[in-house]
């Protein structure tokens, strides 16, 4: 999958798309390298993914530290709804029986293993953005946060098509299947949503703040050199390791 992020030299972008991208990303496109990606995705190649500033954060998840309490999902919904955005959770826990819980947690909670949190990877090259017809899919110039302005989203679904990362499996919460991308549709409000790193929230992503395993690690009760939900810069190297 990682080759999707490596700009291919020698490929040129359609003029029209290029100029539209310049409009969308304004100074960003001018400052960065404009990378063409024609033909990379096996679909009509009108997209131009501009090299954007890296997101200085991505939620890095460790399934071996997740006890499936769903606090991340619930708080994600609740906070986003409280600021007038869609209440569809942008982080989801998939049931992954093959995952084994870290030994200290497993000795305490033997029945709660096999959960896998995942969310938007804040790709170094935000493939979801270029084809958005209303420029609802944005890159925050200060933080590099890739986010959707839900008021601009017209529910066309191009971002979901363009997102290179699948979201497939069984949801731990409902045991129902999920078959989507990391950009996901809110069918009630007719918008697409993705992890926006809780843009606008004091204290950053609420899932990272409230995960009880994170709380226990920070307090020293659970021994781990990293958090269950950790924030790190979304470098290419990091991106390739994300769940």
């Amino acid at each position: 999958m990682s080759d999707r992020d490596i700009p291919r030299s020698g490929e040129t972008a359609p003029e029209e798309a290029l100029s539209r991208r310049r409009l969308v990303f304004g100074g960003l496109a001018a400052a960065g390298v404009v990378a063409a990606t024609v033909g990379t995705f096996g679909r009509a190649a009108t997209a131009v993914a501009a090299r954007q500033p890296l997101s200085d954060k991505v939620v890095v998840t460790d399934p071996t530290l997740c006890v499936g309490c769903l606090a991340c999902e619930v708080n994600c919904s609740t906070w986003h709804a409280s600021v007038g955005r869609s209440g569809v959770p942008r982080i989801r826990i998939l049931a992954t029986p093959e995952v084994k819980l870290q030994t200290q947690l497993a000795s305490y909670l033997p029945g709660r293993t096999g959960f896998s949190p995942s969310t938007c990877r804040q790709c170094p090259t935000p493939w979801c953005a270029p084809n958005c017809p209303t420029d609802a899919l944005r890159v925050d110039p200060a933080t590099g946060d890739r986010y959707i302005s839900e008021t601009e989203c017209i529910d066309c679904g191009k971002c979901e098509v363009d997102c290179p990362v699948e979201w497939k499996g069984t949801l731990a919460r409902t045991s129902l299947p999920i078959d989507s991308k990391r950009v996901i549709r809110d069918a009630t409000n007719n918008v697409y949503v993705k992890c926006d790193l809780c843009i606008g929230r004091q204290g950053g992503p609420i899932c990272v703040e409230r995960c009880p395993v994170n709380v226990a690690i920070r307090a020293g009760y659970v021994k781990s050199d990293h958090l269950a939900l950790d924030l790190r810069p979304s470098t290419q190297e990091q991106w390739e390791k994300l769940v």
Partner: protein, 321 residues
Amino acid sequence: MKGFEYTRPTSVQEAVQLLSAQNARALGGGTDLLGIMKDALLPTDRVVDLKGIQGLDHIKDDSGTLAIGALARLNDIAASSLVAGKAPALAQAASLVASPQIRNMGTLGGNLAQKVRCWYFRDADRTDCYKRNGSYCYAVLGASDLHAVFDGAACFAVHPSDTATALSALDATVVVAGPKGQRTVPIASFFVGPDTDYLRETVLAPDEIITEVRVLLGAPSVFLKAAPRRSIDFARTSVGAQVIGTNVIQTARIALGAVAPTPHRATKAEAFLEGKSLAPDVIAQAAELAADGAKPLASNAYKIPLIKGLVRQALTALSAR
């Protein structure tokens, strides 16, 4: 106790209107609300005493439907020959709540709308629990003996009501009054889990009250409860069961109490029972299925054998009828 305004409306409309103020709470028998106010667990600025409303404490047969007013006291429900004869699970559940004193004060509406009994929520000092509008659940990595084995999400408190379990098995309908008038809510969608809203346990808006509960009279039903003490104790697990159909089961409903944030229907066991009769091997398999999907925390796995045992006992009791 912090000061509050006491109001005593005489009509449902007036009650609903009084409840529209911030931090206003309905009062039935007060056996739950007064404890909450004493420990200042939830902000309460106005108490709206429903007991001044006439005609909300009936227990009657309304052309084949059992209609019980929200202010009917649990002891009256337990003692009613109509309920005992036609909706036995509800009579049994009401009779097993707490103690005679609490059943004399406690109302059906209050029993359904009561708050959770998680020991962390009830500890006045733990102000950051989700149910108190906080941001942390102590039970996930703490002492979870009382907590949910199904459907926990952020909060793992279970619904403590015994009548809710029985009424779920009986597929009751809850009649709710609010500012826009009356609505009826099937009991299966009356309770909400923390993934919907961790600050409430039911669909009730702050200015809505339960006025009546309605149950179709008839088919055999049973309620069983397991608790460490025989009286004055909340269920650690309970079961309400009803089967419809004479030899072959048409519909089976098995509701489990105190194992999830809402009454938990054992849908796999229910589906398995359809078209079968209650032979011992069928009962044994249904009992196994009832615990399917349980995900215990650190100290509540004991609820899984309890579920199986209670379901087996409940179905065995029904097979003898």
